[in-house]
């Protein structure tokens, strides 16, 4: 089991008891029950496990839990504020940008990361930042539309 490590996730502190090289993904899902972050490949190739670490999109299956300490971690469960969806989440709902929705958490986290760094991305920039996220249902055009919609909503709000 290894030593106790403290993680800051969605504004809360959690002591966890995993060996330091365990990928963050398994700690989130299996120990903390934050199952909105998905396992898709365990190889950093599908993006289903994307979370924000220090505000940047990272594949949690590739991050040893020891490397995730000391920085705020945001998972899909942490985006909702006071019962209101994050503009990116809302845009995915508005555009119907999912089918089985298994990739959706990762798509949303990658998009949030992009829009935090770039308030008005071009289509190419959106495509580039989502290139590592797989959607097997083929909902890509609507996902792109949702990110564009979220970008303009977030700009309106300033």
């Amino acid at each position: 089991m290894g030593q106790t490590i403290e993680l800051e996730i969605n504004g809360k502190r959690y002591p966890v008891h995993y060996s330091p090289d365990t990928p963050l993904l398994y700690v989130l899902r299996d120990e903390l029950g934050l199952t909105g972050t998905k396992y898709g490949c365990g190889e950093g190739m599908c993006g289903a496990c994307t979370v924000l670490i220090g505000g940047t999109a990272r594949r949690s299956c590739q991050i040893p839990v020891s490397a995730a300490t000391g920085k705020p971690i945001t998972t899909i469960e942490g985006l909702e504020k006071n019962g209101a969806l994050h503009p990116v989440q809302q845009a995915f709902v508005d555009e119907g940008a999912f089918q089985c929705a298994y990739c959706t958490s990762g798509m949303i986290m990658s998009s949030v990361s992009l829009l935090q760094a770039n308030h008005n991305p071009t289509q190419e920039q959106i495509v580039q930042s989502l290139q590592g996220n797989l959607c097997r249902c083929g909902t890509h055009p609507r996902i792109l539309a949702a990110v564009r919609k979220a970008a303009s909503k977030m700009q309106e709000r300033g």
Binding site: Y26, K38, G40, E43, T75, G96, S105, C137, H140, R142
Partner: protein, 721 residues
């Protein structure tokens, strides 16, 4: 256990849905339990067979006919609070049936959409269902829910009429209540249901609303539980964590067909909290964490005996050599005389086409949670065939079907890939050794790519003859191994012979979105394109000339208009192609534009336009998602997806080595949906994928004059060679 499962699928089933699953007669039991579980109210049951006889879609072309069990197909419950619950054995795997079926019930029963919920794919609560495949949910379930809803509406009208001592004809059922138009008084459905435990099987003659009168159905209503999904709150099977749950891992053989020759678990047996199961060739561990289970497996010493097996390199010649002699009529179809047709033809041509194995690669891998309690087994898993899995588990564990309950949480997609018991069987076997603790197994991506099953490879041979002015007069078509979906030509050809040739399995194979319809359309539509060029005709004109079916012509013409066919080339390396097809009650036409850069050695799909018609559209928003989704998924199998295998091993069992469509692969896309309110709704999960590959191959020929006859097309390779 694995061997038993393999033995059952030794011959590729030409159509998995030809399985005649035995009907389970559990109606009486269910009715008794029904009100216990749901509380008082009104329940209405539809008999599947009657519903089908009344409202089935036009007979599908082809060799197969589908029969559902002569049993209850769907049921409906109206609770005391006015909540309406529909029950179906179909599974939600991303195709959005939860929304579509809720719409259907709301529409026919006259209740707000929000008041309807669906219980799906739970073998204890839902009526028997053969499985979620063959694009059958829309054509079989929407008519059944229409019928139960119409019957329930009639019952409610009668109840209110009796209460008010009026004729039911003067009353209106809408918005969740019965209103007397004269006095304006009204009573809610829930009020009428209060204190009742009224169950009724509907009579055979129930008239449901025609599509022209739909008000809730036919509208683009968003996915019902969208908010749960975007918030990460929906629990897929992989997300379940029941109290005391252990994580399971299975020791996989080094290659297909390997057998265990020595086994020593003395080191693993002493490990704290690790449960080891060794049963035949099945070796697995369960522990409080995946790491501990894996450590347990790592401590076991095993040796395997491997057997030599064939590889990609020789697969196509193998399929031809090993084809079984088959006189079975259901694999053959004749019309006129091909010999006469060929003899009288002005032009004759032959072609051979090849299709490689591909994988479904659902993003949620196969997974299951299993728990034994007092000799009864509960299994949660992502499967398209919960009742078949239940029966399989009951059989394997020597318990009755009543002792097994399979529940399918809304699943992270399947595409025909989740028909078998796999992870459920493994989790259930492990859980027999854990003193009642539930066990979860999630297949790794590598396991998913290796131990699931594939869309089978195939060889297709075509012989054809036509008149000098481009009328096809002879058509002979042989499919080796890949399957017989859409094997018949939709073209109006007087002399035809079609045959499907079975071949024993090489790799474990089964259903895939559209089954062999993609392979058969690829061969047929590529060959038709060759004939069009030989006849020096425009490929669209050539097809229209050889078609009689107006629905097929209509999709071709709609797609051609949206695409702007015929197209003028404005740049070097530009290519335009098209293909069309029919399957499972729906019609599709796909037009593609490619940009070929010979210098750079690249091929880019610029644009895809597809017209699709499946009768009356139940939910245009969900339908558009399914059609566009199939188009994008189809790009993978058309252009680059291929399972590489050698001597019993998969060589590319990772997303890094098995290429799938990503954002950069997605072209400009347009889907033209044709709503035929005069035609019963057909399914849409599969047909929209079929014509992608041939349209791309034909566009590549238009750009390069090079004909690609194998899937995946891998067009860059032909540029570089």
């Amino acid at each position: 256990m694995r061997k038993q499962a393999e033995a059952e699928t030794f011959i590729v089933e030409p159509e998995r849905y030809e399985f005649r699953a035995l009907p389970m007669h559990h109606f009486e039991l269910a009715r008794r339990d029904f009100f216990k579980i749901l509380g008082a109210g009104i329940a209405v049951f539809a008999v599947a067979k009657d519903a089908l006889a009344q409202e089935t879609a036009p007979a599908t072309k082809g060799f197969h006919s589908e029969e559902l069990p002569n049993e209850i197909g769907a049921w409906l419950h109206i609770g005391e609070d006015g909540t309406v619950t529909g029950f179906t054995g179909k599974a939600e795997i991303g195709q959005n049936i939860r929304t579509e079926l809720s719409q259907t019930i709301a529409d026919e029963l006259g209740v707000p959409f929000e008041n309807v919920r669906m219980v799906t794919a739970d073998t204890m609560l839902c009526p028997f269902d053969a499985g979620t495949f063959g694009s059958r949910t829309t054509p079989t379930m929407t008519p059944q829910f229409r019928r139960v809803s119409a019957a329930a509406r009639g019952m409610l009208l009668d109840m209110a009429a009796k209460q008010w001592n009026l004729s039911a004809d003067t009353l209106v059922a809408a918005n969740g209540k019965i209103t007397d138009s004269g006095s304006k008084r009204s009573v809610a459905y829930g009020e009428l249901a209060k204190g009742n435990a009224l169950a009724q099987t509907i009579p055979t003659q129930i008239k449901a609303k025609p599509a022209t009168a739909w008000s809730v159905a036919g509208k683009p209503i968003p996915k019902v539980d969208a908010r749960e999904f975007v918030a990460g709150k929906h629990h897929y099977t992989t997300d379940m964590r029941p109290a005391g749950m252990l994580y399971g891992k299975v020791l996989r053989p080094p290659s297909f067909g390997a057998t265990l020759t020595s086994y020593d678990d003395s080191a693993a047996k002493g490990m704290k909290d690790v449960v080891i199961v060794h049963d035949g060739d099945f070796v697995a561990a369960a522990a409080p964490t995946t790491e501990a289970a894996q450590a347990g497996l790592n401590a076991i010493k095993v040796q395997w005996k491997e057997v030599p097996q064939i590889s990609n390199a020789e697969i196509f010649s193998y399929l031809k050599e090993k084809a079984l002699p088959s006189g079975e009529e259901r694999y053959q179809q004749r019309k006129g005389s091909v010999a006469d047709g060929l003899a009288g033809a002005a032009k004759r041509s032959e072609g051979t086409y090849h299709v490689e194995y591909i994988a479904h690669a659902p993003l949620e891998p196969r997974a299951a949670v299993a728990q034994w309690t007092d000799g009864k087994l509960n299994v949660w898993m992502g499967t398209q065939r919960p009742f078949a899995v239940r029966d399989e588990l009951a059989n394997i564990f020597h318990v009755t079907e009543k002792d097994v309950r399979v529940i399918v949480p809304d699943t992270g997609s399947a595409y025909g890939g989740k028909h078998t018991s796999d992870a459920g069987l493994e989790a259930a076997r492990l859980a027999r050794a854990t003193s009642g603790k539930p066990v979860k197994i999630i297949w790794t991506r590598e396991e998913e790519f290796t131990w699931a099953y594939f869309r089978p490879a195939g060889v297709i041979e075509v012989k054809s003859g036509m008149t000098a002015d481009g009328k096809v007069t002879a058509w002979e078509f042989h499919n080796y191994h890949s399957g017989m979906s859409a094997i018949e030509t939709p073209y109006d050809v007087p002399n035809q012979y079609t045959q499907y040739h079975q071949v024993p399995l090489v790799l474990r194979s089964g259903s895939y979105r559209g089954l062999a319809a993609t392979a058969n359309h690829f061969a047929r539509e590529t060959h038709m394109d060759i004939l069009a060029h030989e006849a020096q005709m425009d490929p669209l004109e050539f097809r229209l000339k050889n078609l009689a079916e107006p629905r097929m012509k209509a999709v071709l013409e709609a797609a051609a208009k949206a695409f702007g066919w015929p197209c003028k080339k404005t740049a070097e390396g530009q290519g335009f192609g098209l293909a069309c097809g029919y399957e499972k009650g729906s019609y599709v036409a796909t037009f593609a534009e490619l940009a070929v850069d010979r210098k750079a050695g690249t091929v880019r799909v610029v644009k895809l336009v597809e017209a699709f018609e499946c009768g009356a559209i139940v939910n245009p928003d969900g339908l558009r998602n399914q059609v566009v989704g199939a188009m994008i998924q189809g790009l993978g199998g058309a252009l680059f997806e291929i399972i590489e295998f050698e001597n019993g091993k998969i060589k590319n069992p990772h997303f890094a080595s098995y290429r799938l469509p990503r954002f950069k692969d997605v072209p400009e896309i347009e889907a033209v949906l044709i709503d035929r309110k005069d035609i019963p709704s057909a399914g849409a999960g599969e047909t929209p994928i079929m014509a992608i590959a041939p349209s791309l191959g034909n566009a590549f020929f238009d750009a390069t004059k090079v004909r690609l006859t194998k899937l995946p097309l891998q067009p860059e390779r032909s540029l570089n060679s």
